[in-house]
Symmetry: C2
Subunit: 210 residues, 2 copies
DNA sequence: TGCCGGTTCACATTTTTATGTGGTTGGTGA
DNA sequence: TCACCAACCACATAAAAATGTGAACCGGCA
């Protein structure tokens, strides 16, 4: 028996979901609330397996509710429920430890399936959500394009600079003279269009050269 | 009719998948290859809707194949296929524009469903993969914890350091004497446990102080 | 009230960086 | 073969940064 509690401000939907879930074999709705004002106490009292959390609620919204719960409980599964596959909310939800993110228009059968998946540790999401998540990821990491034509040796020097090595230490590490380190760094600065160590380090981080 | 091409080095699996997919209503396997050596030409020649790409292939592996395709074609759907829900590969795949990521042990029915979902723009993934993706996301954004008790003024100085300002420029920017800048920076170094500008900058980036 | 931390400034010294101007070697490609 | 460039090294000088010591002012807090 999977124990569920429910946060949803719309009375019709709250009733509907409760009936749907409680009426299904293997599921039980312990309680349903119309806001997150006492979410911590309620979760502690009912110890549910899965929480269905509407995002668009007046007062304390679902994301806030999620944060509150996760601050004290990292175990319980929390499924975020929303009408929109809104970019910002998706990001907020999953970076705050939501177990899954599903649309309200999900058909009843799928919904139950998702709850069950969440309970066993899966991360159910509708494919439209998954698409968003993937897009966010790929937009985040792809832009490493410019490597500024740094040579291998120059990259190595830059790497050590980033790790806080002084010229002397780099020379020792790379078995070359300190003056050679200097000339490498001079070239690096030219290629990166900077003129100080810290700028080079910052640029290395920003442009993900390292 | 969904047009599929297939990259898989294992002959049995290649044959099996081909038969499964081609034998299903609405699906057709145009071709199946055992490596990615000519992936660009092949994709251009067959113009498939969906590509099934094994990750663990000798020679040019699936991730490389993915990159090659995405370099010239951002439209075709590419489903990555693997035996492991390996963290690094998942990350690599989705940040390089994979349309979905599924395990080989996925049952045949589900597999066809996933291909169809991919074709219509969804992002199919098994729940175990989705869990990984979510974990990656939340681990990425949550850790800003340590702010090292920097005072407001110290944060401001650090901010300017990161942007490549010299002591002199910081003094001018903040309307204080250069010696004051020095003492701020000294304190910053103490709090961050570093002893050079570039280390401080690197730490600021790593720990997301800025 | 006295102490603490943040902020401000000053002076002095050493170390590190930045810049300039050279040079040698070895491999690559026209 | 010759030009080019990465990688190596040297010497010199100016600028910047790191370190040390000391001190004044202010606000909050015990």
């Amino acid at each position: 028996m999977i124990k569920v509690i429910l946060y949803e401000d719309n009375p019709q939907l709250r009733e509907g979901l409760t009936m749907l879930i409680s009426g299904s074999e293997g599921f039980d709705v312990l309680a349903a609330f119309k806001n997150c004002n006492n979410v911590i106490e309620e979760v502690a009292a009912f110890t549910p397996d899965v929480i269905l959390m509407d995002i668009d609620m007046p007062g304390v919204n679902g994301i806030e509710g999620l944060k509150k719960i996760r601050a004290v409980n990292t175990e319980v599964k929390i499924l975020m429920l929303t009408v929109f596959d809104d970019n910002k909310n998706v990001f907020q939800a999953i970076s705050n430890g939501a177990s899954g993110y599903i649309l309200k228009k999900t058909p009843p059968g799928k919904l139950l399936e998702y709850i069950a998946e969440a309970q066993t540790g899966g991360a159910p999401m509708t494919t439209s959500i998954a698409t968003q998540v993937l897009k966010m990821f790929s937009s985040m990491n792809n832009e490493k394009g410019a490597d500024y034509n740094l040579s291998d040796r120059e990259k190595q020097v830059l790497q050590l600079l980033v790790e806080g090595y002084s010229y002397k230490m780099i020379a020792a590490e790379m078995f070359i003279a300190i003056d050679t380190v200097r000339s490498h760094i001079k070239k690096i600065y030219e290629k990166l269009h900077v003129n100080s160590k810290s700028e080079a380090v910052a640029k290395a981080f920003k442009d993900r050269i390292v």
